[in-house]
């Protein structure tokens, strides 16, 4: 029996802190006075935010602060909820996503989304990744190459290359979530929205997804909603803190409190509510 050198269970990359500019550079997505309503209920009010190119922006805040609602308005997934309406402007490369002639299907292809619970299709691993390019009619010279590229990019290729035709349901939760990320990047979006992508995963799987986000940042602009402040502190370049407020009619609504570099939000918050939340006084 040969003694193998011990290998670490979790490979933690030494992350080099990037230089982060004062304001989001060349914003890919911008919110200007965004209100999101469900019927008569204005759930999120007056949000102004810029999402800089190749940056990871975290949306944090207590439950009911509207961070997921806001995220879903960024690629028109809110359209699917009956009665949902967005006022104000969401600009994507200076085009208003809610302008009359904008096709929500094209919006969603350009702005991908990864969900809270891993939700692979009941198909093979290969077909999960190939689905997006197929339905959007992408011209690809070789689907096999595209699938390999997407799976490699999502740090899943080595684990699944011998079982591409197996059902995606046979994968572990963390692998399924990386498959969902691979599926999203296969259609080559500009932006990836992540709605609490690690909340259903164990710490090891979470750490792999966080590593993956760091490597994806070079090519994509990422917006992540997270309940986990440590996660925001670990992965995000910039952090927006939202909170629930009560208006004069007694209605609760979500609003943006503070937005800045993650280091500033966590070390020198300007608003008292931010520092209270970060220090664990509420939420």
């Amino acid at each position: 029996m040969t003694i193998r050198p011990e290998t670490p269970i979790v490979h933690v990359q030494a992350r080099k802190r990037r230089e982060i500019e004062d304001v989001p550079p060349q914003p890919v997505l911008s919110c200007e006075g965004v209100d999101v309503s469900y019927g008569d209920f204005r759930a999120v009010r007056g949000v102004d935010l810029d999402f800089g190119v190749n940056e990871i922006t975290a949306l944090i805040g207590p439950s009911g602060c509207g961070k997921s609602t806001l995220l879903r308005s960024l690629n028109r997934m809110n359209d699917l909820i009956e009665g949902a309406r967005v006022d104000g402007k969401v600009l994507f490369h200076q085009q208003d996503l809610y302008a009359r002639d904008v096709d929500p299907i094209e919006v969603r292809r350009r702005i991908g989304m990864v969900f809270q619970k891993p939700n692979p299709f009941p198909k093979s691993i290969y077909d999960n990744v190939a689905y997006g390019p197929r339905v959007t009619g992408m011209r690809v010279s070789s689907m096999d190459d595209l699938v390999e590229e997407a799976l490699t990019r999502a740090a899943l290729w080595d684990e699944v290359k011998d079982k591409l035709r197996d059902s995606a349901f046979g994968l572990s939760g963390g692998q399924q979530q990386r498959l969902c990320i691979a599926r999203t990047i296969a259609v080559k979006p500009d932006v990836i929205l992540m709605d609490e992508p690690c909340s259903a995963l164990d710490p090891i799987a979470t750490s792999r997804i966080e590593d993956l986000m760091q490597s994806l940042r070079d090519d994509y602009t990422i917006v992540i909603v997270t309940h986990n402040m440590q996660q925001a502190a670990r992965v995000a370049d910039r952090t927006a803190f939202l909170t629930a407020q009560v208006d004069e009619h007694g209605q609760r609504f979500g609003a943006l409190v503070e937005f800045g570099r993650t280091s500033q939000i966590f070390e020198r918050p300007e608003d008292e509510r931010t520092s209270d939340y970060i220090s664990g006084k509420f939420g």
Binding site: L80, E82, I105, R108, G112, F115, F121, G132, V135, T184
Partner: protein, 299 residues
């Protein structure tokens, strides 16, 4: 003394109301068993009686011969073929229509619209309408079209389609509803259109449920006699049905016809045909259950 010792130590004994065989629960249990015995007893008696009565006539002749004036020469061949023709036509008419209607109601219609809610309510009501009413409806419809001879395969299939359409719609809607919303969202978030999402994700995932519901609905149609009798389906057919406009009879109608005859031999034939019908129905239901269990998805 032990109770006293426990009481001294402040521990109450663990004996209680559920630990003993009291008369109340025992009587209740016996009543439950009794109702089970009654329910199964009736079914078992029915099946045993039919099988015993029909056994002498359950021969290959039943499958190969045409009805005749003597019970020893008669068979149910036209009824078997007629049932196949009518049910196949019913399936062809109902399945696409029912699935399409259900997909519209479940995936595309605005559930808040009063008109769609009215349709939904009506589909549920239609599923409870007595089958003979559908026979009358088909009769009126064929008369409006000016069809003189209404005892044709397509006429019977029309009545049975109307009968089971609501059932197929409801079963399909339930199967679609069982597909998690996350699957639809994942598809739409990748830039698929709602139509692509329905066609490539939701509908394939719902196929087992749809198949189960459809088979059960068709087995109901297979056992129906009333709507076909209203349409004047023939009880004495001495030819094979050969098309949609052909005259026909079906197994339940053949049974009905033979039961009305005075000779005991025809009653035996009716019993034998009932056994055949029962076997086919049970087989269809078994297939439905198999499909449901085999393809049940764990999300």
């Amino acid at each position: 003394m032990t109770t006293l010792q426990s009481a001294i130590r402040g521990i109450r004994p663990l004996t209680g109301r559920g630990g003993e065989r009291r008369p109340g629960p025992v009587v209740f249990l016996v009543l439950l068993w009794l109702s089970l015995v009654v329910a199964f007893g009736v079914l078992a008696t029915l099946i045993v009686t039919i099988v015993l009565e029909g056994m002498p006539q359950f021969t290959t002749r039943l499958f190969t011969e045409y009805p005749a004036s003597s019970p020893d020469e008669a068979g149910a061949r036209p009824a078997i073929l007629g049932s196949i023709w009518v049910i196949a036509t019913t399936a062809v008419m109902t399945v696409p229509l029912g699935i399409a209607a259900a997909v519209h109601l479940e995936e595309f219609a605005d559930q808040r619209n009063w008109f769609n809610r009215l349709i939904e309510l009506n589909v549920q009501n239609l599923a409870a309408v007595p089958s003979i009413v559908y026979g009358l409806l088909a009769l009126a419809f064929l008369s409006m079209l000016g069809v003189r001879d209404k005892s044709i395969v397509i006429g019977g299939a029309l009545a049975l389609s109307l009968l089971i359409l609501p059932v197929v719609i409801i079963a399909t809607r339930e199967a679609l509803r069982a597909v998690p919303a996350e699957i639809r969202q994942a598809s739409l978030a990748l830039g698929a259109t709602p139509l692509q999402t329905t066609w490539r994700q939701t509908l394939p995932a719902a196929v087992p449920g749809i198949a189960t519901g459809t088979i059960l609905a068709l087995s109901r149609a297979l056992g129906e006699a009333a709507p076909l009798l209203v349409l004047g389906a023939l009880v004495f057919v001495s030819f094979d049905p050969n098309g949609l406009l052909s005259g026909y009879t079906t197994l339940p109608i053949q049974i009905f016809g033979w039961t009305g005859r005075p000779q005991a031999g025809f009653h035996e034939l009716a019993a034998a045909t009932s056994v055949l019908l029962l076997v086919v129905l049970l087989a269809m239901n078994a297939v439905a259950i198999l499909i449901r269990n085999r393809f049940q998805k764990r999300w």
